[in-house]
Symmetry: C2
Subunit: 500 residues, 2 copies
């Protein structure tokens, strides 16, 4: 064992499929030494694949450096895997007899202080602990695929496990970035899988009865309530649907549906006054710190963020938005605006400051200014004729350099707009001065001076733009020649305000 390994905690992964591999990746990328045992001939290959995925994604969630990756070793036996382990994660197939055999072998060799977590979806800790030597350190720690990205781990400890072990288990799970949800009562399928099972059963009926295909069902989820559940879950979402009147009102309104054939799954609890009150009280404790209006704003900001993330990736609901953009853009033709000689810089784009654009000083952050100028540049290039067809033909303008002055501050939800003044255009170059203004008082928040070069993309060489584009760019530059030259143009960083 190397010196480094001695200082690192050891996680033993017993069973190395998609779930075991996900656990291995989470521990490894948080600096643990990971010792895997799985007799399957393809175990190593499968772990390597999961790990490759995890390396590409998990570090992208952190804004601080992750610890140096731990060592991964494959052990020929359970005995070798659990040697020196602080945590042992069992992820073997869902057969109780098999799990009992594996746990017995783990107990024979593991340090007595080691926690034994099981990834089981279905078995209760009491069932796993049957016949164990030290049942008090065996608990369910049920993760969700992909384990290296989704934070949820359901922790079900049952009566045999003391608070010290449970707390220690939660501490370890938190240290690898997970959210331990303590399930207070042992129950089949814990909590989350009960919902998954109900939905799965309903989905099987819909496919069985030819009501909907698998794709239609997935679309019904991911374009609608799936987006809501990614951020608020079921009850907080319904609290909003109930509005200021509250949860009890919501239940009164939708309670009757429980008697209607809205699902083939029909065993229903009676909506007693006690149950309604219990739900309303729990919802108040959960969400009562916010007004309905505040929660709506929070929900909407979350949805905008989620939808924009999906739009960046052109997937799911984001692909719908992308396609819709094309409708909105349909009227945007690559033609010069009529007012290029209005005696003012061109008015370019109108936006408002999104929550994600705010830095710790409470203002729109530096790189978001540049993002707006970059979007403004795209609009300008479209105006002079650089449409997607032109880009597809092999050439486009590249940004060579920019000089940005931050001149004012602006907070969230404020409206802003950008302008463009073309300083110079020739066959290969475009020199532009942008300003970002607050809409309410027109004050300048930032300016950017930018030089673009027309480049043949494959060769990376600077080349002439098409005659149409050059003519368009020059016509704006000519119209703008009459405008006062911006004081900040030609300035270098740190230069005194009055130029010689």
């Amino acid at each position: 064992m190397s010196e480094t390994a001695v200082n690192k905690p050891v996680a033993a992964i017993v069973g190395g499929g998609v779930i075991g591999g996900g656990w291995a990746a989470r521990f490894l990328l948080h600096g643990w030494r990971v010792q895997v045992h799985d007799p399957h001939p393809k175990a190593r290959e499968r772990i390597d694949e999961v790990l490759a995925n995890a390396r590409l994604s998990l570090p992208a969630l952190a804004d601080f450096p992750m610890p140096a990756e731990g060592d991964l070793v494959f052990a020929g036996s359970i005995e070798a895997a659990v040697a020196g382990a602080t945590w042992i994660q069992e992820s073997v197939p869902e057969e109780l007899a098999l799990k009992h055999r594996v746990i017995a072998e783990i107990e024979k060799h593991a340090p007595t202080s080691a926690i034994i977590g099981s990834s089981t979806s279905g078995f209760k800790p009491g069932e796993l602990q049957e016949g164990a030597r030290h049942p008090g350190r065996i608990l369910v720690t049920h993760p969700f695929n992909p384990v290296y990205l989704l934070p949820l781990a359901e922790v079900v400890s049952g009566d045999a496990v003391g608070a010290e072990v449970r707390d220690r288990a939660c501490k370890h799970l938190k240290s690898i970035g997970m959210y331990p949800l303590i399930v207070r009562k042992e129950i089949d399928a814990h909590i989350a899988d009960r919902f998954l099972e109900a939905v799965w059963r309903e989905a099987l009926w819909l496919v069985n009865d030819d009501i909907a295909t698998t794709e239609e069902i997935d679309n019904a989820i991911r374009y609608g309530f799936g987006l809501r559940w990614a951020q608020m879950g079921l009850f907080e979402t319904y609290r909003l649907a109930g509005g200021e009147a509250g949860m009890a009102h919501f239940i009164a309104q939708f309670g009757p549906c429980l008697q209607w054939p809205w699902t083939k799954l029909t065993d229903v609890p009676e909506l007693t006054d006690e149950l309604v009150q219990k739900i309303a009280d729990q919802s108040d404790r959960q969400s009562g710190a916010y007004s309905i209006r505040e929660l709506e704003r929070i929900r909407d900001r979350n949805l905008v963020g989620i939808l924009r993330a999906l739009k960046d990736r052109d997937w799911g609901a984001g692909a719908i938005l992308k396609a819709h953009d094309q409708d909105l853009a349909g009227s945007e033709t690559a033609t010069l605006p009529v007012d290029i000689d209005s005696g003012k810089p061109l008015h370019m784009i109108d936006l408002f400051v999104l929550p994600a654009w705010i830095d710790y000083n409470g203002h729109m952050t530096e790189f978001r200014y540049v993002q707006v100028f970059s979007d403004t540049c795209d609009r300008l290039l479209l105006m002079i004729g650089m449409d997607s067809e032109y880009v597809a033909s092999g050439c486009s303008y590249y940004t060579a350099e920019t000089h940005t002055m931050q001149l004012g501050e602006i907070g969230v939800d404020e409206r802003i707009y950008s302008t463009a003044q073309v300083l110079m255009a020739d066959t290969k170059r475009l020199h532009v001065f942008y300003r970002l203004h607050a809409t309410n008082d027109d004050r300048v928040l930032a300016s950017t001076e930018a030089m673009y070069l027309h480049v043949h993309r494959e060769s990376g060489k600077v080349c002439d733009a098409s005659p149409d584009i050059v003519a368009n760019a020059k016509s704006i530059a000519d119209a703008h020649a009459a405008l006062p030259r911006p004081e900040a143009a030609g300035r270098f960083v740190g230069q005194r305000k009055t130029q010689p």
Copy 2:
């Protein structure tokens, strides 16, 4: 009616609660004239509230300008609301007799070409069409709250509605950014609400039996499978769980659970060979264009995007990540690195290029360079002692100006790192030169020269930094005085490469 209004299509909104208000907002923000009728005394107030939310969020989804907002008018009667309407959306309470009365009144006054969509969750189009004069243009168009953000609209037309009307309805829904999901068979609760109802019933049991609170249930959803469903839904997610062996394998593996008490909702279809094959075939048609490995990568990128969006907003799973960052940062103390006089600029941060950072040229886009330099600045400021405590005390460094040179290109998933060279530090100013390198060959991708000013945040005035911070900054500047001055420092935009 103004001249503008004549040219705009008209949507009549009958019933103006949260759902009707959401429809009104979607139509208005897409340039339609909207005529609302709701006899409720607070209808106008409620619509205004929904509209205020929508104006803050819906435009943030588009990257092209939205049409000019349409006119909103409140009509004293259904007759006035439906005058000249192209689309009529009925969102009155879920009582069939009431809906019949409202639809009869709509039919009496609406243009015969108008489509009548109902927001009903529970009634089938056949039920709504009973006794109608023109049943062939009455259909269910069931949206999801918030209507102005979630794209899904279930379109259930039934036998009485012809393809022309249904297609026209879908066209209109698409034009306001929605995804019309055609529900091919009339069924109680359509598709999505069947799942919501099943989950709701299961959740009521869990609360009723004191297994979990509303908050625990929401956390079980939003930290786990809710994140999956926001992008892939149920079947595509399980296709991944089944791995290369495919859907039939997955069903074989988890099929037995159908007989287990994993939910209190127990009516279960028989898993015949035909049903298994049907699901596997549909799943192939839905997702077969991608390998499992490709789908996993897509899923992971989506999850990273969603999780980071939530992290920006410090909410849900994103709040877990934020808290975890503090653990990762715990070891990052505000102290100078030991190697400030190593004869090299300081090595600052290591990253890899995320999919969202790529522009249409296929390379990391301009403002993401600036984002990395901005993050690098944060790290540098932390090094010299500007920790969160210092910021909380009222002062921090603001970026005054930057000059960025783009020198190379880099594609997705490549590793990069940044360096910092302190050119000058005094009590109020910090002058830094950054470089961004490709990790594999150390080539420089971009540089930024930046000037920061130490500012008292409330007054916005430049002031002296604390003596410790000044001393730390100067010690780096002194160590870096021996480094060659970067050629690009002091340069202005467009300057020829060799300085005089």
